[in-house]
């Protein structure tokens, strides 16, 4: 086990797959010579050369379209969209083309490709560079959706995404890029669609994703220590496929569910999970299900405002404590 940053785990995951499989190519804006604006792809150009690691014009539709065309003709492209907010400028290629091609052609077209993108808030970048848009992708049938919270998962899930025969949208949490963690050495491949129970408690279940996993874990410690509330914390890791068995199993045990989402409130992934639990786990529920989300507003940029908009550890603790008093 080596200690790697989340950012270096990205490069490690890509490198592992490029070494293994010559069909894996990588393209994006400023990703090659500059190693990416988040420095998550440093060294790849040197290692694999300009034929496989390519800088692109500011043409997101062309970048994803090219990845799609290459994937359907035998390559396994990894494309970077610098900030997940920019998925909006190429949303047609994601939602209408990549996600639908296999189905529309009744299985003729395969698109083994990965779209990596930096997601989420916390850097004071303002409303157009800070969104958590994993629910945009979850809504669309035909694309898998992954969002790791730890460096090891970054490497293992990225490798799994590259090997997956279906298109995967891989959300990297930009506020976690400098986080360090143990990452298995050598070839390491994880499995898509498996949530992880990071902590077990009898009182309630918290489901979280990416940056919110860390906040949920911190909140759980405080809730236990200071308020005697024992929480189970589930890191979803992927939204599609969704590990409903783990969720239903854990909620079944605690009878209480809280979701912690960075996305704005309406139609977030938490709502989907609530709807599954409210249908399939209803009789095991002891109390209302509560979603803790960013309010339904665009993100403000000033430190004070941003910090008080996305769910904080303090807010998670407060809301769970209040609601557990029911």
């Amino acid at each position: 086990m080596a200690e790697l940053t989340y950012r270096d785990a990205v490069a490690a995951g890509i490198a592992q797959e490029m070494e293994r499989d010559e069909r894996v190519v990588f393209l994006g804006e400023d990703v090659a010579a500059a190693g990416g604006v988040f420095k998550a792809t440093v060294g790849l150009l040197d290692k694999f050369g300009p034929k496989r690691v390519r800088d692109c014009p500011i043409s997101e539709q062309a970048i994803l379209g090219a990845a799609m065309g290459a994937a359907m003709t035998g390559l396994r492209p990894i494309a970077e969209i610098m900030f997940s907010d920019f998925l909006a400028v190429c949303w047609d290629i994601v939602a209408n083309e990549i996600a639908k091609s296999r189905y529309m052609t009744n299985g003729q077209i395969s698109l083994p490709l990965v779209i990596r993108t930096a997601n989420g808030a916390g850097s004071r970048f303002g409303a157009q560079h800070s969104q958590a848009v994993e629910n945009w992708a979850m809504m669309i049938p035909g694309i898998k959706v992954v969002a790791p919270a730890f460096p090891a998962d970054v490497k293992g899930l990225l490798a799994a995404a590259v090997r997956d025969p279906d298109p995967v949208l891989f959300f990297e949490q930009k506020s976690l890029y400098s986080m360090k963690g143990e990452v298995p050495d050598g070839e390491y491949v994880d499995e898509l669609g498996k949530a992880k129970v990071l902590r077990q408690g009898k009182d309630c279940t918290i489901v979280a994703l990416a940056s919110m996993v860390h906040k949920a874990l911190d909140a759980a410690v405080i809730l236990e220590k200071e308020h005697g509330i024992a929480c189970t914390v589930i890191d979803l890791r992927s939204l599609v496929p969704l590990d409903t068995q783990t969720i239903l199993g854990e909620v079944g045990k605690t009878g209480r569910l809280f979701t912690v989402e960075e996305n704005p409130r309406l139609c977030g992934w938490g709502a989907e999970i609530v709807s599954i639990v409210a249908e399939e786990c209803f009789w095991n529920l002891d109390a209302p299900i509560v979603r803790i989300t960013t309010p339904h507003v665009p993100l403000p940029s000033a430190d004070l405002l941003e910090d008080n908009t996305i769910p904080s550890v303090a807010r998670i603790v407060r809301e769970i404590r209040q609601k557990m008093d029911y």
Binding site: V25, R54, Q61, L75, N96, R102, T105, P141, G142
Partner: protein, 341 residues
Amino acid sequence: MKSATNKKSPAPPAIEIGRETKSELYRLQLELRYCEKRAYDLFLQNLIKGTSHLSLGQEAIAAAFGVAMRPDDWTFCTYRGHAHTLARGASMEGVLGELMGRQCGLLGGKGGSMHLTDVAKGAMGSYAIIGAHLPVAAGAAWSAQYRGTEQVAVCFFGDGTTNIGAFHEALNFAAVWKLPVVYVCENNLYMEYTPISEVTAVEHPAADRASAYGLPSIIVDGNDADAVFKIASDALAKARAGGGPSLIEAMTYRHSGHSRADPGKYRPEGELEQWLLRDPLVMYRDRLLKEGFNEPTLKDMESIAMGKVDAATATAKASPLPSIDDIEKNVWADGGAAWRN
């Protein structure tokens, strides 16, 4: 009536078209014409639902590329893609069956008229959102370049498509990466019901923009299969040789409305009639006769083509409907649609 001009074009390539090729070009144009007409009849009989966009009048372009391309080249088409798909050798019952929503359809009834695809024949999909397939074609070309296969991607689209952002991104991208892709704009003078000249800042929506991507301006008479064949062969050869992309504007006209729903009333009186005088099939037949093909040979070809369409129609009509189980198939590579465990 605007007609094709060569004013900005490079000297036509010195390709001589042999008799066998000419025969192929006629055969293919016939099949495309008859099959499209059949599709129209089947609509009228309410055997085809939804929408459908016919290429009647534009067949010379699809046919010429179909003949000029290598079997392992790739075609990318629009919703107006029946002819281009057939021109790559996709089966007629596969096409008509898909339009009728039958099991024998190319897509088993999943896609319909606007998404015809036959990967085995290099027909890599029909795309119904304007512009989307231009970057996709660039990607296929990149794959050929990367693997050194000398395959070429050919991407067809309309005049109206030149005004959407994806056109611009794809052309620049292809030019910078010198990709083996041929972009073919079929200028039929209309984007749906609106004359292209009313919504475009230049006279030739593709050719007048080629220079924005460092490409030569190429305009060809899209109703002349030989002329298109020559230009196509040249562009394909250039792409195969590593010379990068081409952008070709083929001047043509659709004889029918934009789609099934459209009677084409917005056209000025007499415009259609003038273009019918330049019907690619009529012109090509006349030329073949002048060049020594004889009437019985051509008649034969015509009845063979019609027979093929009739047989395909019968097969497609006899094909069962798809199964309801198909709905939750083929979202994923494992054949299923599961998003959860």
